[in-house]
Symmetry: C2
Subunit: 179 residues, 2 copies
């Protein structure tokens, strides 16, 4: 039996995750050899650096801009779509350490905005119009923001683990992540 | 095309991962609300606390003991099996913060032992006898130790993400981790 409550969302708990992600990634990734940073899962897949760029893009273009759009427009018009691949065409010369610092700075600013924009529990029930999904709620957006962090942390460690697919030899069988 | 080299193993790079895991988990997990720590993926699955207990058990019973067994016994006899579920029957009263500290301490000691036991590249090619797999190499054991960390970091964030399976609403469709 799962011990998850059916509707577990609480914005303060979501913020606990959101505020930890940048420093967790900094701790894990800073100083790693280039081999860990450039490996990927095959054609069209992202390496660690590209995942961080995607997280930065989300801070700039997705979460808070959409929150503000919902609060301003409600369901009156769909919010502009977010290009989930835009970071791939904006190659920057930043080092990974600089990218991680940028992510940390943007995230802190955005959590500050989140705290200012959401004044009450009632704000969490406000609705907007997603171009693909239709009506969505503010609390769904915030839950997705946190789950999206978790998705990309999972992606980073999975990409890294796959680098050792051959190196682990027969233990491959016990490592679900490699399958 | 994947940019992974077919045989990417280098023990110093494996150690980069091994030495980062405990503090990464400390950064990510310390101070989280209980709801994040007790959620799981259903009956028979582990919550965050149980994953950390499993990592501690591995430090005590698996990686270095097996390395030492290989270096001492070679292929002459199979190494004792490691019970991957033993931590579930040894419930401790330690807080998560204490468990994370114990993991950190044990890991540091074990990396110290690893550095002492492995004196040359040739040691990486030494072989032992796994009770289920047969002949295994020291370098496969070390690669597996690192990949095992990555597996369990992935598990932790996946378990946490699933707590929000309902909360994310229609965005579920975009979050591969929830599938």
């Amino acid at each position: 039996m799962s011990v998850n409550e059916p509707e577990a969302f609480n914005r303060f708990e979501a913020i606990e995750v959101l505020e930890r992600t940048p420093r967790t990634l900094e701790m894990f990734l800073t100083g790693l050899s280039e081999g860990w940073l450039i490996c990927n899962e095959g054609e069209g897949t992202w390496n660690v650096r590209e995942v961080i760029e995607h997280l930065i893009e989300g801070e700039k273009m997705n979460w808070i801009p959409r929150l503000e759009f919902i609060l301003k427009e409600g369901e009156s018009r769909p919010f502009p779509p977010f290009d989930r691949y835009s970071h791939l065409s904006n190659k920057s010369a930043q080092s990974l350490a600089e990218k991680l610092l940028e992510f940390q700075k943007l995230r802190a600013e955005n959590l500050d905005k989140l705290n200012k924009r959401i004044e009450s529990e009632a704000d969490l029930e406000r609705t907007g119009y997603h171009p693909a999904f239709g009506v969505v709620k503010v609390r769904e957006l915030i839950a997705t923001w946190a789950a999206h962090d978790l998705t990309h942390i999972a992606q980073i460690v999975r990409v890294m683990a796959k680098r050792y697919e051959q190196a682990v030899g027969p233990w491959r069988e016990y490592l679900g992540i490699l399958k």
